[in-house]
């Protein structure tokens, strides 16, 4: 099946790139991966986000869990009106995206990387895992979720040839506990931690890395409204850092410079 038309065919630029839903993978009723074909090529780097608009609903920030520029995958958890609408779309339905915006994970090919995803925060990390493997690197992939039903990309990471560990809070599969507790034991084997997930998890990872002098790049969330650094809604904690412009991926040096002590 083809997208039916290409943007270039008619000429001119739009604010939005049109995406058509091509495939849905159901992780669970409230957590799905949407495969979306775009009507023109976008250069999206792992960690960057798109503003995803469903007319009649709102526009929300999403970091793709994969992109080859034309086919993107959004892994979305239904938390409110728009995200729930998104995961309940039908094949062939359209979404409108703008971006990509923000920073991305910066890779230095000498590093031994530990990728840590919490919940749908695993999205940019599995995308990054694909890129790292293409570059010939072998990062370790860790995914922390509440329960087995929320598991996302362990198999995908394994199929990339990576060592992948699932950590569940309820112990329904993999290692039981918090992902931040689990990584304490292995942290010293890595040069750099790349993580994305709920803010308390990232704050904990940051503490761990600070106390051990390990590098990290963390993809934080906040309330993103404009996505382009003008509205001021997306500050990280009490810092003057904008998640949409300086982030979402922030490295430990930047966080230190801003004396970020975690958002309460």
């Amino acid at each position: 099946m083809s997208i039916g038309y290409r943007d270039e065919a008619i000429g001119g630029e739009s604010s939005y790139t049109v995406g058509i839903l091509k495939r849905i993978y159901v992780h669970n009723r409230n957590l799905k991966s949407l495969y979306i074909e775009l009507n023109h090529w976008l250069d999206i780097k792992p960690g960057q986000f798109l503003m995803v608009w469903i007319p009649g609903y709102e526009e929300i920030p999403i970091s793709p869990s994969y992109s080859d520029g034309e086919l993107i995958r959004l892994t979305v958890k239904g938390v409110g009106d728009t995200s729930k609408k998104l995961i309940n779309m039908n094949m062939g339905d359209r979404v409108y995206v703008r971006g990509p915006y923000g920073t991305y994970f910066k890779i230095d090919d000498r590093d031994k990387y530990l990728l840590v995803g919490g919940g749908y925060g695993a999205a940019p990390l599995i995308f990054l895992a694909h890129k790292l493997v293409e570059m010939g690197l072998r990062p370790k992939y860790v995914e922390g979720v509440k329960s087995i039903s929320e598991q996302l990309f362990i198999k995908e990471a394994e199929s990339l040839g990576l060592e992948a560990t699932l950590v569940t809070e309820d112990g329904s599969s993999g290692i039981r506990g918090l992902v931040t507790d689990y990584i304490v034991s292995i942290l010293d084997n890595f040069d750099s931690v790349l993580a994305c997930g709920p803010t308390p998890m990232l704050d904990k990872v940051l503490d761990l890395c600070r106390s051990r002098g390990i590098n990290c790049q963390l993809s934080y969330e906040s309330i993103v409204k404009c996505g382009i650094g003008v509205c001021g809604s997306c500050t990280l904690g009490n810092t003057g850092l904008l998640i949409c412009f300086d982030g979402p991926v922030l490295d430990i040096n930047t966080l230190n410079k801003w004396r970020y002590r975690g958002s309460d």
């Binding site: 630029e13 739009s14 604010s15 409204k225 404009c226 509205c231 500050t235 904008l242």
Partner: protein, 303 residues
Amino acid sequence: MTVDLGVYLSGLRLRNPTILASGILGDKAQLLRRASESGFGAVTTKSFTYNPREGYKTPIVAEVKAGLLNAVGLANPGYKMMRKIISEARINGVPIIVSLAGSNIDEFHRMAIYADESGADAVELNLSCPHVEKMGMEIGQDPNYVARLVGDIKGSITIPLFIKIGLTDNYMEVVGRALDKGADGVTAINTIRAMAIDIYAKKPILSNIYGGLSGPAIHPIAIRITYDLYSEYRATIIGTGGVEDCKDALEFILAGATAIGIGTSISKKGLNIAKDIVRGIRKYMENEGVKKLEDLIGYVHKN
């Protein structure tokens, strides 16, 4: 050659003429502070309203070819928060201008007094928001209302008072009346009411349908208004609209602006844009043999 980029803006000393325009990153203390640290000569808060406002639902911006549409909807924590914000935002003596958007004279009045008491360096009355009912253009289009408003507030505060205007048919009269009543200066211009439609969605993009157009699109219009106001009134003007580089800034100054508001282009270039513009202006002054930037204010009217 050493050149002096400082300007006096109705009594406020600015180290350079760049001012963070109202509404851009301006409702949080840490962002205002960051703007000051990044080199702006002064910063303006987002417009405070009497009561807190959530603002509109997303999409609140639409990027168009010639600039940006926004309909943030005056999201702000309410004027009572300004004291805390001002005190936390203050750094290195960079002036803080507090923008106010009242829905009636009484609200404006109370907020202006509170701003003065809270340590604001100046007050800017937003008479020109193009996308919020009752707080917008209707106000700025009524010369009698504006005259009363300015007269009323001017008698109650000690800090300079600016009015912020948009593009209306009668801005000359409105500004004339406001200056008569003691307004210290004019910020020109606010965004222009406009709209964008997505041809695939077949819907207006902004949740609010209408938004305010800013960026390069409005620059030549803002230059015209600055020129007119300086030509007629020798007004003190904060020229605002589409400043992306030092040439845009210098155009405003030559037209009659004392300082330059910068908004939209921050989304492309970040807050460091102030430093870049200041560097460019300095270089220009060296090249053109201009010692004091103030000598360039309104220069086209003399040339």
